[in-house]
Amino acid sequence: MPRVLIIDDDRDLLNVCRVGLEALDHEVLTASNAHDGLAEASIRAPDVIVLDLGLPDMDGVEVMKRIRTWSAVPVVVLSADGSEDRKVDALADGADDYMTKPFGMRELNARLQVALRHHATAGEESSAIDVGQLHLDLAHCEAFLGGRPLDLTLREFDFLAYLARNAGKVCTRRMILENVWGPAYAKEMHYLKVYAYRIRRKLGDESGRFLQSDPSVGYRLMPPGEGGAG
């Protein structure tokens, strides 16, 4: 039974999430401020954390940073105002995913599942990555979709490999540009649109269900069958 810690200052929302997630076979811990949340996170060692960015006693992004100093636990951030900058900040500081209030219980559960799975596979350094039908041979820079070789340029392969290594996790545009193109390209946001378009065509994924994008936040390679909104 996965253990979920929810940190949010809205007690009503905490109670509802407890009922809903317990019905979905989670063990639920709650905290209504950053101080209690950090204490729970360190003592009870949750498997996944849901963190609201608008806490009364500390900036949610700061809480995110502190968690990352000692733990790689997956974190899904909640934002009430839909402010893109803050989501991007939290993702850059190590959050795995984000959700905007209000959200349904199914969606929350789906995101938690993705985050848990990503966490389970992360850290395994190998020369090949599989995400659903996609197989990437990192040693030879070759990509296969359902056994069929894909004709990718080197940069397209690097882009796809970066997302595959973080499959399920939202990667901000800056993170991708810095890791794939190099720090000097951190502001060349339009590169990503062009490359994502080309890769989607080669993957036969014009609708963007597999290579998901949020125009103002970033990209994510979503393992098939895990749904979730992009």
Binding site: D9, D10, R11, D12, L13, N15, V16, C17, V19, G20, E22, A23, L24, L53, G54, L55, P56, D57, D59, G60, V61, A80, D81, S83, R86, K101, P102, F103, G104, M105, R106, E107, L108
Partner: protein, 508 residues
Amino acid sequence: MRRTLPGTAAALACMALLTAVMLPLRDSVSIATTALVLVVPVVIGVVTGGFAAGVISVCAGFLVYDYFFIPPYLTLDVGAPQNWVALGVYVIIMLPVARVVAGMDISRARELRQGRELRELFELSDLLVEDKPLDVLLTVIVTTLADVSGARQVALFLPAADSARPGAENQRLELAASVGEPLSDEQLRGVLPAPGALMSLKPHSPERSALTVIALTASGRPVGLLALSADAAAHHEREPLLLFVNHIALAVERAQLREQAMRTRVNEEMARLAKTLVAAVAHHLRAPLASLKASSSTLADTELNIGQEARQRLAGTIDVQADRLADMVGSLLDMSRIQAGVLQPRCTVAAPGTLISGVLDDPPPTWREYEIRTEVPADLPPIDADLVLVSRVLANLVDNAVRHSPPGTPVTIRAELRPTGDTIEISVTDSGPGVVPARREEIFELFPRRQHDAGAGLGLTIAKTFVEAHGQRIWVEDAPGGGARFCFTLPVAAAIPEESRLAASTHH
């Protein structure tokens, strides 16, 4: 002419007196001396009655001199030739004397008038540099000009508001301020000719209805037209007035620019407010929506295995949050009406205890986990306030206290008479973490300064708006035993014992 009659009378009276005194002595005093004495009434006549009175005095003096003092007495005959000389010298000297004295008098009067005009113009210049709304300034200008110039009609024309934008074509002038008789249609046509109409530019029209029209310009730009009825021009010098036209033009232009800048600022502020208001409202409405959506989506999911008790709790949450949303929307509407000045508090007189018990009568479920204490002295005077609005204030403060305190802790509502005796202070004390001094102002604001700030919700903003609509104050301070103490004041009902008792009893 008004002065001539009393002046003449004074001169004649003086002459009669002097004649009476001199008559017994006329044989021992020389004829020349008598002539000198008779100068006195003439001078008196001129000074008090002007030149005309002076001339009459001279004639009278001539007759008196000849009749009483030149032998043969009591006839108009003149005997000896040297007597002719004395009489002639008297008349010849007296006429220029009257002329000179009268001239001095006239120039003194003119100096006085000019001094007064100058003073009035200086006063006007003082008024012109003050920061006044345009319409007040224009009224001051026309009134002062009418006083100074003595014109029956003074009117000021400015470009019409809709054509006043710089660069606007077809600038149309319209009457901005006037004093005295309203301008006739004919006069108006003269100042503001219809397009294509022929205009005479002849400077001085003999007609009484003619107007002197002066263009107001500031740094070469046209500002407006000043029209004065011509009757004033005929009597007084216009120079100080004309010198002043430039000042008037500058002052009018300055006031126009100031109003324009102010309008721009107000518009910008409104646009900014509207934008942030939408953002803030969306932000605050999301909180209850989040609970609603999470609850309803859980209940609606048939695959979820939720117990009966949990179902009840979710349904309860939906109910409470829907109420919270409805309250919030209602309060937001009231708040915007108050801020727009549409909604005024409907004050009634009531006991503070009634207000507090009314709020605690039907507590929302979230309050039930807390021990809510009240400290209300029985001898408090009644308050004069809108009970609906103030109940909302108190409920929001209790709600805020409950939200920030650990369950089971006490929340204290206290009412007390302030030392000044004219307001009652109501406070809500909680056992929460308190509010750091730096945030004590901003937690009442609709828009938390820090974007990520959860804020205290709309409740405190609404409370502040409602309290301030009563002209009262709301603030937060440290509670003695830790926690926050939110306080607001309410006015004590005016001490008219019969009426206040009546109002308090009829309201409930």
